[in-house]
Symmetry: C2
Subunit: 350 residues, 2 copies
């Protein structure tokens, strides 16, 4: 049994308390500076305000100011921050990491470089760690379809742990596996992480179809799955293209990280809600107002990749016509356009 | 403008009346011997009893006995029969086909041969046509995500027409395309048709997860997408494996025919309903009783492919461990087992 410290008391970080506590580990859940309200609620009632569920017996909750204490002696560190917290995690938590203690992150995203190159968040984290730690810490990540509410309810969940060190991955699997939390391993960090990031952009895309149909008005038919399915398929195809560009393993487009994760995200809440509002014809500014205060990682990932693609195209590494859905989403998010799906540009095939 | 005869007045065959009539074609809708009640209803009220919608102006409806008249002068013939009607279509309608008049089918399925070889339904149809016609008729098929109700409501729908003759495909596209019915073309008949068939088996698989969770009882969480997503992903992976075995184009696992069609089928009605009943722990006999009278193509396709796989494995052409979900479904359908998902056997990767 090990001491595991989770940094970030958001929904997904917190949900990992369940398999870890069920396995008898000593679990420490530490808030970031943005989690003060959550931590206060956990201290007062042990109920997580977003999961609306009592955290398992034995989990100890720490405020951000107590992170040094929470991290002391940890044998595994979980990063539960969002993509907006990667810099903070690497620079602040990085000071307390110890050589040989692995990190595993639930964070989803890609970081675009000035020349358009897209790097994974484990790599982005590594580059920001204190220099002495950069080669001393194994940085791993979790991909695949997992809604935090369901993991906390011990629903059957199948995920992928990715990293570069097979021995570390095997140890992590042993630490986290339960009869309801099933873990597969992959050393293809790029492939898993590209899919984990892009599913947010494409779930927004599927949401556009839902919103468009609601806007079109009732005609006695409440169902509207044909257009959703077409956008789901276009999202899968664009994910494959991005795997080709980034050098991710092509098998990732046919298992948990690609279509599996996209499927679950379509049912996952705010990403699709934003897509629906945009699909109804709202501008992004109008939709953003209706979702004030919510973290929208889908906007961030779509914007970053859409910003990178022209640079990659100029370098001969990408073709813009392979990404009509992503670029349409970007025009809505960042260039004032309203939804107008470019059907004829879809499914551009060799 | 052309004369188009649709043979089979089921939901999907009938739904094609909308794009065809909107394009100004002369549309003849002919029932099979199993469609007598539907045809009677259409003659009396013009409302299709299953689509619950009035068919477009100008569509002429024929009884099975009038098929020779319905087919006289047709410039395109649509086969709207189910997989159980392929033999009837080839032998009976085959007598009235004319050289050079293409056929396009909505039928989904695969036919297993005694040695385990799986053939597509266009090929199975060809083998049953009157000998003189076998090389005279271009046999094409429609794949991709399309719920008939939605096409009849003119929802945005994206499909794939597949066949071996590019000129015929281009002509068919021109005949059927409307601003809401978007058509892509593929000469990879095997790839498109393998996905079109298998999505029924794997949508049943996704349904198992829904039923299992309902059976597990309420715990305050109505959502249950993590296990569905895992089975969706396993279905995608097994479809890819079957594409490898059958020589289908590998790109089909990332666009309309693979994940796109599986996505729509999960929302499509009886296939998932059967999966839910089995997921609740019913035996197939018990579930079948609750769905008496319904055509279950998902059972047929799962049974046929599961029957073929051991023969293909014996010939060194398949590995049984690549198909744990399909084989579990087969054990439920044909060997009296109850649901007990083999999680640890999933995602067997090279």
């Amino acid at each position: 049994m090990s001491i595991i410290t989770i940094v970030g008391a958001g929904m997904m970080g917190t949900a990992l308390c369940w398999p870890l506590a069920d396995n008898g580990h000593t679990v420490r859940l530490g808030g970031t500076p943005l989690d003060e309200e959550i931590v206060a609620s956990l201290h007062a009632t042990r109920i997580h305000p977003k999961l609306q569920r009592r955290i398992p017996e034995g989990v100890t909750v720490y405020r951000a100011a107590q992170l040094p204490e929470a991290l002391a002696g940890a044998e595994v560190v979980v990063s539960g921050v969002s993509s907006f917290g990667v810099d903070w995690f690497a620079r602040t938590v990085g000071e307390y990491l110890r050589p040989g203690v692995p990190v595993i992150a639930v964070t989803k995203g890609l970081e675009d470089q000035p020349d358009g190159t897209l790097i994974t968040l484990p790599e982005a984290t590594r580059r920001r760690l204190p220099p002495a730690m950069r080669e001393q810490v194994s940085l791993n990540a979790i991909g695949g379809p997992c809604i935090a509410h369901e993991l906390a309810a011990r629903r059957q969940t199948a995920v992928v742990f990715c990293g570069t060190d097979e021995a570390v991955l095997a140890r992590l699997r042993q630490t986290f596996t339960t009869p309801y939390y099933h873990i597969w391993l992959s050393t293809d960090v790029t492939g898993v992480e590209v899919c984990a990031a892009m599913k947010n952009a494409y779930a927004l895309g599927v949401g556009l179809a839902v919103g468009m149909m609601e806007q079109a008005g009732a005609d006695g038919l409440a169902r509207m799955y044909n257009p959703q399915a077409a956008l789901f398929a276009q999202g899968c195809l664009e994910m494959r293209r991005l795997l080709e560009i980034t050098g991710g393993g092509m098998e990732n487009d046919t298992w948990l990280p690609g279509p599996g994760d996209l499927y679950v995200t379509v049912f996952g809440g705010r990403t699709v809600r934003l897509g629906k509002l945009l699909g109804q014809g709202l501008s992004f500014a109008e939709a953003r107002q209706q979702m004030a205060g919510e973290t929208l990682e889908s906007v961030e990932i779509a914007t970053r990749v859409a910003r990178a693609l022209p640079k990659l195209a100029a370098r001969g590494l990408a073709k813009l016509e392979d990404f009509p859905l992503l670029l349409h989403i970007d025009r809505i998010l960042n260039h004032g356009e309203r939804v107008n799906l470019p059907w004829e540009a879809f499914f551009n095939r060799p």
